[in-house]
Structure formats: C-alpha cells, structure tokens
Symmetry: C2
DNA sequence: AGGCGTTAGTTCAAATTCGAACCACGCGTT
DNA sequence: AACGCGTGGTTCGAATTTGAACTAACGCCT
C-alpha cells in the first residue's frame, strides 16, 4: 500500500490532474498571448502588483508571490518595463530593495486581457462544475496547496 | 455572472488549483532531479515508452502523448539518447518516421526513480485524500481533462 | 508517372529559464 | 568602528524552449 504502483483510482486521479493542469496552462497561455501579447507569468506579475498596496511590491516579495526565482523575475520585470507596463524605482528606506510598480499603461493592459482570461478559466474549469462541486474542488486543491506551502517553507 | 470578476469561491478554487499544480510540479521536478538526475519531462517520456508496445513509440506519437512540441521532443530525446536511456532507429515501413525505444539502461533509470516519485505523489497529493475524496477529485479533474482534450482536438 | 496537400522529424536563431557567482547593503555582535 | 552573516537584486554563461523554416516521404488523385 505504500510503495506499490499507483492503483487504478490513484493513477486516474494523478494523470487527470497532470493533464488538466498542463492543458489549462496552455489555454491560459494562448489566450493571454493572442489576446494581449503577454505570457501567463507576466500576467500574474501584473495581477499581484494590481492587488498590492499602492500597486507596487518589492522584487523579492513579488518573486515570493508569483513563486518564481529571483533571476527569472528580474528578467520578466525588465521585459515588462520595456513595454512600459511596470516601472522600477529605488526604495528609500532600504537601499538594497527595488520597487516594482504597475504603471497606468500596465493597468490598462491588464484590464484589456482580463475578460478573456475569465472566459478561459470559467469556460474550461470553474464553469463546468456545479456549485457544490466547485466548493469541493476548491476545498481539495486548497488543502493540497496549503500543505505544499508548509512543506516548502520547512526548507 | 458571466463577465464579472471571479467571486470568492471561484477565486479560491482557481488560485488553489494554480498553486497546487505549480508546487506539485516543483516537488516532482525536485525529486526526479536530485534522485535520478532527470527532469519531469524526461521522466514522462520514459514512462510512455515503458508503457508502449515493445517499449517504443514513433516520435510524433510520443510527442502527442507527453503533450509537447515536436522540436522540444527532438531535443529531449537527443539528451536521453546521449545518456543511453533511449535509442533512435528508423522505421522500415515509413521512412519518414523514427522509433524512440527505451533501452535496458533506460528501464533501470526509470525503475530507480519511481519509488521516490510515488512517495512524492502520494505524500503530497493522493495520500492526503480519503478514499471518497480521491474518487471525487479524480472525477472532477478527469472531467476537465477530457473537456480540454476535446477542446484542443477541435483545432 | 506527375502533382499536390499532409505528415514526420530536424534544424536554426531568438527568447526564456536556471543556478551559481557576485555586489551592496542591513543588522546584530563585539 | 570592525566583523560576520543574511538579504535583495542583478549578472553571466549554460541549458532549455519556442516557433518558424526546411527536407523528405507518404498518399491520394488525375
């Protein structure tokens, strides 16, 4: 029971999860790309900035929130800056830190892709559940997410 | 109800899903890397080959099964071939096609990482559900996966 | 046989990602 | 003030990924 091959029910659940997350990612990616010329990673950065106080976050906090490496964030923010969607500025209180801030143009770009993004997420995932199933699904994945976060922080 | 912001229950489900799949991917990746020096992508290739008749598949079938681009598969199979885990050979019946075949060494490498892989999948996901929840979860994600596959094939 | 649209796979350059190395700074200790 | 250690960010080269050609071969149709 503990180191045997995954049994059929387990296998089905695992494969379904892998396939679903893989394809959802591709759908989201595709919509954001064609629809607003941005990647899912860039989109998530803009979303987190939008949510943040003063529409800005320090690079390291941003990296934690979107769960990517520092160097990857540096690269992506540079790209976003090039497009004028984000601006960098030095933090006065901590001279090591850098603020990444959503620009007005960035907010527009975000607003422009969001309806399409919601359509993809609802049309392919959330909207295919009954209210009860949505609740169940949310409970299950959040339990897993919480566990994985704890797991990770213990390192 | 159709183009409003995601409401709390939806948002929770979506974010939970994104975080869970992202972190599961990282956990799996980490285990396979440290434990057997391979990426999740390489692992999936070996698994599909292992499952196939004669432990071999044509490149394009393999690409479809692991859901990656042709060029990416070419690259990854080349890497696996370099490590001696897979071998390529021409297909006699269709001179365009190429067989990718799991070598004995590849089968060993696969066998070596599988216990750890199962531990990660069970310890972080499947094993955290009751039998009933596992069934529910499997049903939900497979419904989504099936839908996304149809969706995609209609293009 | 010749033509034509499709499929299989590879190749190439450009874009992205990774991970280790690095620099500058903050902070607590001495 | 000097030291040492941890943090915040960037940089750099190597590895990987992308997507658009490109070559070869198949299969159908005439």
């Amino acid at each position: 029971m503990n180191n045997d091959a995954l049994h059929p029910t387990e296998l089905r659940a695992w494969l379904g999860f892998v396939v679903a997350s893989h394809l959802m990612e591709q759908e989201v990616e595709r919509q954001l790309k064609t629809d607003g010329g941005m990647s899912h990673g860039e989109f998530e950065i803009l979303v987190k900035l939008d949510l943040a106080d003063g529409h800005r976050l320090r690079m390291s906090d941003l990296a934690r929130q979107v769960m990517i490496s520092k160097s990857r964030l540096t690269y992506q923010v540079t790209q976003l800056e090039r497009q004028g969607l984000v601006s960098r500025s030095d933090c006065p209180s901590d001279r090591r830190a850098v603020w990444a801030e959503l620009t007005a143009k960035g907010a527009e770009a975000l607003a422009a892709v969001r309806p399409g993004h919601r359509r993809v997420v609802r049309g392919n995932l959330l909207g295919r559940f009954t209210d009860e199933e949505l609740q169940q699904f949310g409970d299950l994945v959040n339990r897993i997410a919480d566990h994985l976060l704890e797991q990770r922080d213990g390192r």
